[in-house]
């Protein structure tokens, strides 16, 4: 473990030097350089200068063009803070430079009963929702924010749920009741007030129409609401409203053990299955210092790619359905059924297998898995060809999608867009290539790119990605390494059963590790993966306990939805529906 841990620290050290070099003019405002297991430089800076520092970092030569993540930590109950600046709350900014393939985390310490800091929306446009989120969940005010309102919780909500003194369980509150009066108040509170968003009700004497789309609408892919300001068919402006799917996953992580949180990750991007387990277990393994055997890595890659295909198939069906084609969804769901046959055969479950474990897998591959997977690998290519012929080469689809809702790489980075939607603009940034994890460096595959960043490219690209995933899975089948399906490490959970059966001491250890779960040393770690919809990451803070102190889940769909207004202004309603279909989002991946 030790050499490996050193390896993981090594790039961080040169990264820290580079980061300090870039911030040369701000030396006196850097309070602390925090050593972590994230593999990234983490710098604490003074609150007063945060806007200038971020502006400086965004511009060349630093060119951290993307605000990848922004969130907060309630530090008040944290026991192990050795050397960290005093803070009641910490806000962190995760910056990403695509050009230099480098990241930087900037932290700001806040103290006192009314935590606040300057808003950075004027530097990074996509800070808007993130700052509303930390106001909503932590009660941290971003001064100068254009519209600081609740984002995830209902407008009538009291309190800030991610604060440590806020109860987590629903059963700690009075049982939920809905009265006629309450129903009216809630509905009233959801009413859209154009003035509150600085919108005009009319122009040149003719009134605009305000159309409320959602939170239940067949083409909104779940509980998503967007209010449109219309002049005829033209969208003057629009306001997305989210939070109808907030399941408090981050709070949940603070009460589940490291091990028992795994099933919750499956349900973040619920079409992604075990793809969601991957960043989480990798981050936990970093904290625990576990190095898993090659077999585990390869099986993980194989199953994650299976889910990428199944998720992309769902995308393809609904994307074309949103364009008005009824039958593709029937074809693609037939294929998904085939994929599920493989997934179920191997993991025993269809949608949410929660099959990865800390330091390994739930079980080994079953006897005869090769043939099962091979059947699927042989089935898919002709189907993909057919999709391309019947749909993507179809003149109607082309006319309908070409140059619709197009954006450039610069715009994409400005809004934090990642994954296939970013690559559709021609930007070659795929973490599986750029920062290989779980053994992706050993696979031979290509990263498909688009050119125009329009609805068509986003669809076409995903078909190509499925081909590449099939290629990866084929390599897994052909070269599956032999070996154990669990790492030989004391923190592997659940520990091998054979070890428990020796004497009472081993039995007790086993019992504790299964019932209480493993205890991880204090520290912070982070793992990003190229998930089905974009970059998904887990930023874990351990306080030396059997559960996490703070788990930040950065999901790709959140920024993708935030980008909609900037894209749709001046567009038409049907184009927006086409764009919604092409984003490929699920609400659980937005609201968590």
């Amino acid at each position: 473990m030790s050499t490996d841990a050193l390896d993981r620290h090594a790039p961080a050290q040169s990264g820290i030097d580079r980061a300090l070099g870039l911030l040369d003019g701000f030396r006196e405002h850097i309070e602390h350089v925090q050593p972590t297991l994230t593999g990234l430089p983490v710098l604490w800076v003074r609150r007063e200068r945060i806007v200038e520092i971020l502006r400086h970092l965004k511009a060349p030569p630093a060119s951290f063009s993307m605000l990848y993540d922004l969130s907060a930590v309630d530090e008040r109950l944290r026991a192990h803070r050795d050397g960290l600046p005093a803070a009641d709350f910490t806000v962190f900014y995760h910056l990403l430079s695509v050009d230099r393939n480098e990241d930087l985390i900037i932290k700001v310490a806040l103290t006192g009963g009314d935590p606040n800091l300057p808003s950075v929306t004027r530097v990074f446009a996509n800070a808007n929702w993130y700052e509303r989120e930390i106001w909503d969940l932590f009660g941290i005010t971003a001064t100068g924010h254009p519209h600081l309102q609740r984002l995830l919780m209902p407008p009538t909500w009291h309190g800030h749920p991610l604060r440590k003194d806020y109860p987590a369980r629903a059963t700690e509150f009075d049982p939920y009741t809905l009265t006629v009066e309450g129903q009216q108040t809630e509905q009233e509170a959801l009413k859209f007030e154009p003035e509150a968003w600085g919108m005009q009700r009319e122009r040149d004497g003719s009134e605009f129409m305000f159309l409320n789309l959602g939170p239940n609408h067949p083409s909104a892919h779940g509980a998503f609401r967007i209010v449109l300001q219309l002049d005829g068919e033209e969208i003057i402006d629009c306001v997305p409203d989210i939070g109808y799917h907030h399941r408090g996953a981050e709070k949940m992580a603070e009460r589940q053990t490291w091990h028992s949180f795994i099933p919750y990750t499956d349900r973040i991007d619920y079409t992604g299955g075990v793809m969601n387990n991957l960043p989480y277990v990798l981050a936990v393994e970093k904290l625990a210092g576990i190095e898993v055997p090659d077999r585990v890595k390869t099986v993980r890659v194989m199953m994650a790619e299976m889910f990428r295909i199944s998720s992309h198939l769902l995308f393809l069906g609904t994307y074309l359905q949103d364009l008005g084609a009824m039958s593709p969804v029937f074809y693609s769901f037939t294929d998904r059924q085939r994929a599920y046959k493989v997934i179920e055969g191997i993991t025993g479950f269809r949608m949410h297998p929660a099959w990865y474990r800390i330091g390994g897998l739930a079980q080994d591959l079953p006897v005869g898995w090769q043939q099962l997977v091979q059947e699927f690998l042989d089935w898919m290519p002709p189907r993909l060809r057919e999709y391309e012929l019947a749909m993507m080469k179809n003149a109607l689809v082309r006319e309908r999608t070409r140059h619709v809702a197009a954006f450039t790489t610069t715009e994409a980075l400005e809004w934090g867009v990642t994954g296939p939607n970013l690559r559709a603009t021609g930007c070659n940034f795929d973490l599986r290539k750029q920062r290989p994890y779980s053994g992706y460096e050993n696979f031979d595959f290509e990263v498909p790119l688009g050119q125009h960043g329009d609805v068509f490219d986003r669809g076409q690209l995903r078909i190509e990605e499925m081909r590449q995933s099939l290629r990866i899975i084929q390599q897994c089948v052909d070269h599956m390494p032999a070996g154990d399906y669990k790492a030989d490490h004391p923190l592997t959970t659940p520990p091998p059963r054979e070890r428990m059966l020796q004497h009472i001491e081993t039995l007790i250890t086993h019992f504790l590790q299964v019932s209480w779960g493993p205890v991880l040393k204090p520290g912070e770690s982070l793992q990003m993966v190229e998930a089905t919809k974009g970059i998904n990451s887990y930023y874990l803070t351990s306080d030396g306990n059997n559960m996490s102190y703070r788990t930040r889940i950065r999901t790709p769909s959140f920024p993708h939805l935030q980008q909609i207004p900037s894209l749709m202004r001046g567009g038409f309603v049907p184009d927006m529906i086409a764009h919604l279909g092409s984003i490929d989002f699920v609400m659980a991946d937005v609201d968590r």
Binding site: R169, Y264, Y270, M351, G368
Partner: protein, 225 residues
């Protein structure tokens, strides 16, 4: 057969809480009719059966999804599972045209008033299937933002266990709903007889299938396909 009676226009006694209407256990009222007059009793029985047969075989679902369970629900609509076999393939995007609503997914506090409104917009006769642990009881989400079971404010007809339930389980729930509709007694007209809605107490599948379940003594080991 014991029934559960819901009266729609019962004058409200202090409570304005959802679910609306008053529920009580009741005996099958057809029996008492029958005792009074053999002929009309029989006739309404036949009529009820005929109407119920029609209702249960053309249930139109409301296209409504909340989260993960909805994916498995839509899977049931596509060709490998083909819900058309049970007469329910006509998905309606408007609650006003739908017969039943499937609460497929987690019921969020922010979403609950919206769900209630959509339910109110559906026309009688209407039914509710609660699909998945989240809708049944909150499931694994005992968390501040989730209602612990949609039956806190909606009357539920069938509960489907699972997280998510398989599409087959959803299809079974649909058939159970059909069975229960066959036994229902609703007013045949606003001038004929009792105006209450009588729903049969169908009993839980868990109880009914217990003996079948414990018969299984050998389970497949997970290391084989």
């Amino acid at each position: 057969m014991p029934y559960r009676l819901t009266r729609a226009e019962e004058e409200q006694e202090s409570s304005d809480r959802y679910p609306m209407g008053r529920r009580q256990s009741s005996e099958e009222y057809v029996k008492s009719q029958l005792e009074r007059n053999v002929f009309t009793g029989k006739l309404s029985d036949v009529l009820n059966s005929a109407v119920n047969w029609g209702r249960k075989n053309s249930l139109w679902p409301y296209n409504f999804g909340l989260s993960c369970c909805y994916v498995e629900m839509t899977t049931a609509f596509t060709s490998p599972h083909d819900i058309a076999r049970f007469g329910s393939e006509v998905i309606r995007a408007s609650p006003r045209q739908a017969d039943f609503m499937v609460i497929a997914g987690t019921c969020f506090i922010k979403m609950a008033p919206v769900i209630q409104q959509l339910y109110d917009q559906m026309l009688e006769p209407k039914w509710v299937i609660s699909m998945g642990s989240c809708a049944n009881s909150g499931g694994m989400y005992d968390i501040y933002s989730v209602v612990q079971g949609v039956d806190k404010f909606l009357p539920v007809d069938v509960y489907v266990a699972g997280c998510p339930p398989r599409p087959e389980a959803f299809l079974q729930a649909l058939q159970l709903l059909q069975d229960s509709i066959q036994e229902e007694r609703r007013p045949l007209s606003w001038v004929v007889g009792d105006q209450g809605v009588y729903k049969a107490e169908m009993g839980s599948q868990r109880e009914q299938k217990r003996s079948q379940r414990i018969e299984a003594t050998e389970l497949r080991t997970p290391d084989k396909l």
